[in-house]
């Protein structure tokens, strides 16, 4: 019972970007994944990447209001990592023998599909932002990501007043939206 409460607390912490929860998850589960990846043709860096992707999948999952985890965190993370790693081995043409697996795992097909979709949208937004150039990139990041006000941004970027900053932001935003949606609508 105590362990279960603890898991719930961890997931709640994860949903709120609590660094203690993230650290606890890394501490208790990364070793298992490291073992798995190293035993199956991968490197320490591979293990780090795969585990990070699994953490992001879990993070995205706990954000949703309908979220329910039907198994232990450990099992969930392992299942995601297993799936992602098999896929990567397959893509690298490295798959050579049945995997050595000692852990229990569950089917995570649906979550992977959701993850991949979000991953694609993330990559498209990232590319769109990075191809904007300056000052557009920093201006929009300042407004949408760092949630700064127009007054503050005007000061940061040396515009004479907030209206000028607004004008500039509008132009940049239109470009970003165009870049994002052209790619997004193709890839859907």
């Amino acid at each position: 019972m105590k362990a279960e409460l603890n898991e719930q607390a961890l997931l709640k912490g994860l949903a709120n970007n609590d660094s203690k929860a993230v650290e606890a998850l890394y501490k208790s589960h990364f070793n298992m994944i490291q073992h798995f990846v190293l035993n199956n043709n991968g490197s320490f860096d591979d293990a780090r990447d795969i585990f990070q992707e699994a953490m992001i999948t879990l993070y995205e999952k706990v954000q949703s209001s309908s979220f329910v985890l039907t198994c232990q965190i450990k099992t969930y993370l392992f299942s995601i990592c297993k799936h992602l790693w098999l896929k990567r081995l397959h893509q690298m043409d490295k798959y050579s023998s049945p995997l050595s697996i000692h852990e229990e795992s569950i089917s995570v097909e649906e979550d992977i599909v959701v993850f991949e979709k979000k991953d694609a949208a993330f990559a498209i937004m990232d590319r769109a932002l990075n191809s904007l150039g300056e000052p557009c990139k920093s201006l929009l990041e300042g407004y949408y990501i760092n949630k700064k006000g127009m007054q503050e941004l005007a000061k940061d970027f040396g515009y004479t007043n907030a209206d000028n900053a607004k004008n500039q932001k509008y132009k940049c935003l239109m470009r970003l939206k165009k870049l994002f949606f052209t790619q997004y609508n193709i890839g859907d």
């Binding site: 993230v22 650290e23 070793n31 490291q34 043709n41 893509q91 509008y170 193709i186 890839g187």
Partner: protein
């Protein structure tokens, strides 16, 4: 100026920063102006993705920081990697021998019989998967067999060039863009051959080894571009058990071959979600061949075959073509390539044999040389 104000209002509306009165007023305007409603929807979508992007970026940073912190604190050691590495080497050595024997057997078969052709590459996914491209010995043999024919119409393969690999491919844009598997193109140059046996020069535009997809463009004065492509690309998932068919060049002559089967699993080898499993009599050479559903929509590209189970093949999902084209367009903004995407309601009632004769001219045999 008006536009700026409008977007600002939409943004405030969506983030809940309008006063109750302003909000009410805006909602009336939105209701009566479809253009504004459309803008609200679009911007709401954009903000949704921007929010996701922000959250994800912050979380990724947090994981990186945490990982680095624990690593420097000595939480993990790399020592436990050693025994397993030793095990891997052992496994590889064992496996290498098997591969070598298998490869020589395959070579023997290819040289002595022309019926079953196997291509074995040691870099493949273990010995379980067999790529469906044709062994080059057979292509060579085939050229000799057709000797006088090939001499009459001079081959477009450069004189000193060696054919390396081959498979099938198909047009996706009337301007001469052809899709095939990346592994079909092992050489630097390529030619394609249509169902009438005419050779055409083609440039390799783009190859994505991860997706196992490649894009060719026919660059040949003899190519007469069709007006349009008869089939469209299906974006949505195809249902299990749905009837499917393919057209490709699996044999060692230039005859197009029809194969039919059904979709047997939504995912590919070991749960790969970018491909699916099909039950079809796939022979080597079908690699890169298009896969159609009953309505004649393009649903995939045949790629690899599991060695042991006869009739089991895998196909890359057609939405990956859309991804590939997006990648190409990103590299070259001037690219004029256009895809015909299925709207999902143009159910073709054409008979299968009519579909086949209509599609045939758009499907090519692909050969790659160095």
């Amino acid at each position: 100026m008006e536009d700026i104000k409008l977007l600002e209002t939409i943004e405030k509306y969506l983030t809940g920063d309008l006063s109750a009165q302003e909000r009410e007023l805006f909602e009336v305007i939105r209701k009566n102006t479809p253009e504004i409603d459309q803008m609200v929807m679009e911007h709401s979508m954009f903000l949704y993705h921007m929010d996701n992007y922000t959250r994800r970026r912050q979380f990724t940073k947090l994981t990186e920081k945490t990982f680095q912190h624990l690593l420097t604190a000595g939480e993990w050691t790399l020592d436990n990697a050693l025994p397993s590495k030793a095990k891997m080497i052992q496994l590889w050595n064992k496996y290498k021998k098997v591969t070598a024997i298998a490869a020589s057997v395959a070579g023997f078969i290819a040289l002595t019989t022309s019926a079953i052709i196997m291509y074995f590459s040691p870099s493949l996914n273990g010995n379980q998967l067999l790529q469906l491209s044709k062994a080059i010995e057979v292509i060579k043999k085939n050229q000799q067999a057709q000797g006088h024919l090939l001499n009459e119409v001079k081959s477009k393969v450069p004189e000193n060039a060696k054919l390396i690999s081959g498979g099938s491919g198909f047009l996706i844009d009337p301007k001469g863009f052809i899709i095939t598997n990346a592994h079909v193109l092992k050489g630097n140059g390529a030619i394609v051959i249509n169902n009438l046996g005419e050779e055409l020069n083609a440039n390799i535009i783009f190859a994505d080894k991860d997706l196992d997809l490649a894009l060719l463009k026919i660059e040949d004065k003899d190519f007469s571009a069709p007006k349009s492509i008869p089939f469209s690309i299906r974006k949505k998932i195809t249902d299990l058990g749905e009837d499917i068919f393919t057209l490709g060049y699996p044999r060692n002559d230039n005859d197009i071959v029809y194969g039919k089967g059904y979709l047997s699993a939504q995912t590919g080898f070991e749960g790969d979600s970018s491909s699916f499993q099909i039950q079809i009599s796939a022979n080597p050479g079908y690699s890169g061949a298009p896969l159609f559903n009953d309505r004649g929509e393009l649903i995939g590209i045949i790629s690899t075959r599991q060695k042991l189970a006869e009739g089991v093949a895998f196909a890359i999902k057609s939405n990956k073509i859309i991804d590939l084209i997006a990648a190409v367009k990103e590299m070259d903004e001037k690219s004029e390539i256009k895809l015909k995407i299925s709207k999902g309601n143009n159910a073709s009632t054409a008979k299968r044999k009519d579909q086949i004769s209509k599609y045939k001219p758009y499907i090519f045999s692909v050969r790659s040389y160095n």
